[in-house]
């Protein structure tokens, strides 16, 4: 890159693309950049292949129990002997049922969407239509800067500010006064749990969702909104009948992407989720656990398993999370591409 001699005057050469393809430096560049372009494939497939290969003994050992049982027990490392199933052995008493974690992951993700989607839509609409023109760049910048706050910083705030507030103020009040509503009554818990996780995750995905839905709205709806208004609609009608339907697929895709992000988020959730094991949440303040958080918090004890099955079962968990997020991402990107093509934008 350092030396580039620009021989712009060298016009004798033919400029047909075919001739250019034959030139030597051209081929080298094509091959080198082509190799670089293979990287993203290679990473995804290597990762999938490697994790599955590594988890294979666990996949055989655990069988369907992995998805149907909620008991995660690495077995007694101080016990004698091993237990063997399908030719693979683990510590005595071992049971690797991931249902609690899979359920917790999907539940926190889904509830996060319930909270964050309407809020993000509102914020995006507000950024596009209601914020005074002069304040718009500032509001935009604030929301975008917040998308860059690291996960541990959210976790830090969650641990020191949010969790004590939920545990001391919110949860006791809600369980006492709104306890008759399903999933709001019962034990107020410690503050660590479903509510705190959903709160933090929402904060983390809102800036991302706002940025994407806002861009979709800016790109799509300007003329629609104005045409609709010109035809005499109220702004409410213009919004609900013209703008929102037109951005639907873009919004759906961004929601799916945010959902994928929420499922895979690790550090912040780990710091506030209450790390439930072997138990399902009974109300919104109950401790939960997610696959990503479990991989970090359980790797530690998995390493004490001399049979290695606990570590391989964590790899199976990582595979499960990988596949879930992969599917969500592929679907989301598919929707996005489809929408782009339908609406005549360059894919």
């Amino acid at each position: 890159m350092a030396s580039m001699d620009i021989r712009v005057g060298d016009t004798a050469r033919a400029v047909s693309p075919a001739a250019l393809q034959r030139s030597g430096s051209q081929t080298i560049l094509a091959v080198l950049t082509g190799l670089a372009a293979l990287a993203s494939f290679a990473i995804i497939f290597l990762m999938l292949f490697f994790l599955i290969a590594y988890a294979y003994p666990a996949i055989r050992f655990n069988g369907i129990e992995f998805f149907t049982s909620g008991i995660w027990n690495i077995g007694n490392q101080y016990g004698s002997g091993t237990m063997t199933r399908n030719g693979f052995s683990a510590q005595p008493g071992a049971s690797f049922g991931a249902l609690v974690f899979i359920f917790g992951t999907l539940l926190t993700g889904a509830l996060t969407m319930v909270v964050a989607v309407p809020l993000s839509l509102m914020v995006a609409l507000s950024l596009v239509y209601t914020v005074p023109k002069r304040l718009r760049p500032i509001a935009n910048a604030l929301v975008e800067l917040m998308a860059g706050v690291p996960s541990v910083v959210y976790g830090l705030w969650g641990m020191v500010v949010l969790v004590p507030w939920i545990g001391e103020k919110l949860a006791p009040w809600v369980t006492a006064h709104l306890g008759f509503v399903p999933f709001l009554g019962g034990s107020a818990g410690s503050g660590n749990g479903l509510a705190a996780s959903v709160f933090i995750l929402s904060l983390m995905v809102i800036p991302i969702m706002v940025a994407t839905t806002r861009d979709v709205m800016l790109a799509q709806s300007n003329s629609l909104f104005e045409a609709s208004m010109a035809l005499g609609s109220t702004s409410w009608q213009a919004m609900t009948r013209a703008v929102l339907p037109s951005v639907r697929s873009g919004v759906v895709a961004s929601v799916l992407l945010a959902f994928g992000r929420a499922l895979g988020e690790t550090m912040a959730v780990l710091m506030v989720c209450g790390a439930a094991i072997n138990s399902y949440p009974e109300n919104i303040f109950s401790p939960v656990n997610t696959i990503a958080a479990v991989i970090v918090s359980q790797l530690e004890s998995a390493l004490t398993d001399a049979s290695g099955m606990a570590q391989r079962s964590l790899a199976e968990l990582a595979c499960a999370l990988f596949v879930i997020t992969l599917i969500i991402n592929v679907v989301a990107r598919g929707i996005m591409r489809g929408a782009d093509r339908r609406e005549g934008r360059a894919a």
Binding site: V8, G9, V15, S126, V149, P150, G264, R337
Partner: protein, 285 residues
């Protein structure tokens, strides 16, 4: 840029409620996010002293020099990797790839952006740290960061290269420049602000990562050595995550200081990235 919409007067009761509610949501969200920022700065700022930048973490307290140096080293090497791979990917996609390959590559890069950080971290831990026997190391950590940065850099460079005006390129080709030459003498200078924006955004991502580094870079109380393997590296996010859990007030101070520094670094890179965007849009007008 879209045409600016000046405040549209709400006409009906439904519209008015809608308008008020969405503004309230905006204020609430910005309010909460701002309070997080204020909290971290209020706790972290008083803890930032000159000695943080001159001494390394020492026992339960000390400074942050090792973590700052490690963070920057990891990010710089991650950037070096991602610049090579990311720009290569973008050049191939824009210049050489047939249409179907363009689609597939862009798709894969987007999908890569959605892979959870812990999955990448666990994969690299098993593959590089244990199986390959690298131990906790600079290279393992930098690779982890590079994987996270890749989609942002590829996307930015892809857009930047694609937006180079065709007339300029065709002019160069007509004057006899070879495509390789066109890439370096026309595309690069033209796309540079866009690429730099992508690299800055990637820097922000790299600065804030934790989960993939815990089991690849490890942690060290000392200044990073340049040894590519078998030498763990410290970084700021680790201080936030671990030191807040120590039973000492001095450790908490360090965690808050690290959090505040991270926010400052990340906001600075993001602001810089934004200013590049402004520059680019101004120029293209």
């Amino acid at each position: 840029m879209a045409i600016a919409r000046t405040g549209v007067a709400p006409k009906s009761w439904a519209s008015r409620t809608w308008w008020t509610f969405s503004t309230a949501c905006l204020i609430a969200v910005i309010g909460v996010l701002f309070s997080i920022f204020a909290f971290v700065m209020a706790r972290g700022f008083p803890a930032i002293k000159l000695s943080l930048f001159t001494t390394s973490t020492h026992g339960t307290a000390g400074g942050l020099l090792n973590a700052i140096a490690g963070t920057f080293l990891l990010v710089v090497i991650g950037l070096a990797i991602v610049t090579l791979v990311g720009l290569g990917t973008a050049i191939w996609t824009v210049e050489f790839a047939p249409l179907w390959a363009k689609r597939v590559i862009r798709f894969m890069v987007d999908v890569l952006a959605g892979v959870p950080s812990i999955v990448v971290g666990y994969f690299l831990y098993v593959a590089l740290v244990e199986e390959a026997g690298w131990g906790f190391s600079l290279v393992a950590g930098a690779i982890a960061l590079a994987i996270f940065m890749l989609p942002y850099v590829v996307r930015a460079a892809d857009v930047a290269f694609s937006n180079v005006p065709r007339t300029v390129r065709e002019g160069a080709v007509a004057l006899g420049a070879r495509p390789a030459m066109v890439i370096f003498s026309i595309d690069f200078p033209w796309a540079l602000p866009g690429i730099l924006t992508g690299l800055l955004v990637a820097t922000g991502i790299g600065l804030g990562e934790t989960a993939p580094l815990i089991y690849t870079a490890g942690w060290s109380n000392y200044l990073p050595t340049l040894a590519p393997t078998h030498s763990p590296v410290g970084y700021l996010t680790y201080v936030v995550w671990t030191y807040i859990s120590q039973p000492f007030e001095a450790s908490h101070q360090l965690a808050y200081a690290a959090a505040a520094l991270l926010m400052i670094f990340i906001f600075a890179t993001n602001l810089l990235a934004r200013s590049f965007v402004e520059y680019r849009t101004n120029r293209s007008r």
